[in-house]
Symmetry: C2
Subunit: 218 residues, 2 copies
DNA sequence: ACCTGAACACCGTTCAAGT
DNA sequence: ACCTGAACACCGTTCAAGT
């Protein structure tokens, strides 16, 4: 604390705001993971006292919402402005999934946090809904369609987050011979990430096509 | 603490073990949610000191693994013993999803926790893999297929966990007219849970069929 | 308006001491 | 072998006091 003192006479510049706090928080998560994001740690990085943060955010939860909105801003939904809806959907889903994989630790937050005071998130949904509606989707079908796609995206990204040895049966192996054979066959086989990607693509296509058929969109 | 004293002379009966601890922990989660599960709270319910728990579990994380394995034991994979693989897969996925919806708060734990010392979880996978392999799935295709289905299951259950007003755009509404229209149309429409169920079914069928085709399984 | 410093009510975990 | 009680190093949050 002593070494942290400003030179005398230099005016204190207010430095704390949503953007700066969000940025610092994201950097902590990137370098040391979500559990490392504590109010103390965040305050330290901003050269400030933990209690100072509460002049700008009402809670740690609110800061988490800022982070999620910031991340959602990285999802590219621009294809909906120009491309046919199938291509746009595929491009958007791929980008969404990439972003989720890059921030896998936060998926459960992304999936469950309320869309409140989240301009980037709202902007993304606006783009997607506009594109779908222009393509002939009735309004009432848009959100369910989006939500179902998000299901698949979150789940698929989870597979990337799961530890590589998530399927190690350990002591139980002798009573589960087929399971063990499957685990070993997978390990000898192709890159799991590659397989994961391919299955994501298969599932996505299957869902998009069957939805289109059911909704009568062409 | 004073009122908690045992009658003098009654021998102390060892009462703590994996099953008892898991049970108590699950009851706390059921009644008051995952955040309510603290070592102190758990010890209280077992009429014991928090530190006593560490004679049976090495950490809270281990207790969480016990809980997850206990929950996985509720997933019904028995159809794989008797039914054709398509029907078995559908029944298993439906049961799996029901269980996840009932324990939505724990989905991220279920999805990411290692399968270690988890007899019920291993038993479930053994059943599924056996059924798929008997139906003609090569071993190396089993786990990717299962993992992709789990993706969809977790994601779909997440939709049930998400707060009803997750799509409330708030102040941003005026700049997102299409999004707002979609939100309103959804609210006026059918029961969201019903729609969610239907989309789960569509996605599941689509994925199962396209996988079968790709793997050459009939 | 914004920040500090002290305090509060918690966490999970460790460990010497008891039986 | 198993439990207690005290202690440790943390959490997020509040609030009077300063500027």
């Amino acid at each position: 604390m002593v070494g942290n003192r400003r030179p005398a006479g230099r005016p204190r510049t207010r430095i704390l705001n949503r953007e700066v706090i969000t940025d610092a928080a994201r950097r902590i998560i990137t370098s040391d993971g979500v559990p490392a994001l504590t109010m103390t740690r965040l305050a330290q990085r901003l050269s400030v006292t933990p209690s100072a943060l509460y002049n700008h955010a009402t809670s740690k939860q609110e800061i988490l919402r800022w982070i999620v909105d910031s991340i959602m801003g990285e999802v590219d939904a621009s294809a909906f402005d120009t491309e046919p809806w199938r291509e746009a959907t595929r491009a958007w889903a791929a980008s969404y999934r990439d972003v989720m994989v890059a921030h896998a630790e936060l998926i459960s937050s992304v999936a469950t946090i309320e869309v409140i005071d989240s301009p980037r998130t709202v902007a993304m949904y606006e783009r997607v809904v506009s594109g779908l509606h222009r393509a002939g989707f009735p309004f009432e079908a848009c959100l369910p369609f989006i939500a179902a796609l998000e299901s698949f995206i979150y789940g698929s990204a989870f597979n990337e987050l799961a530890p590589a040895d998530i399927f190690d049966p350990g002591d139980e192996g002798d009573v589960a011979p087929n399971f063990v054979a499957a685990v070993e066959a997978s390990q000898r086989g192709r890159n799991p990430r590659e397989i994961n990607d391919e299955l994501f693509d298969i599932g996505l296509t299957a869902f998009v096509e069957s939805s289109a058929e059911r909704l009568g969109v062409c």
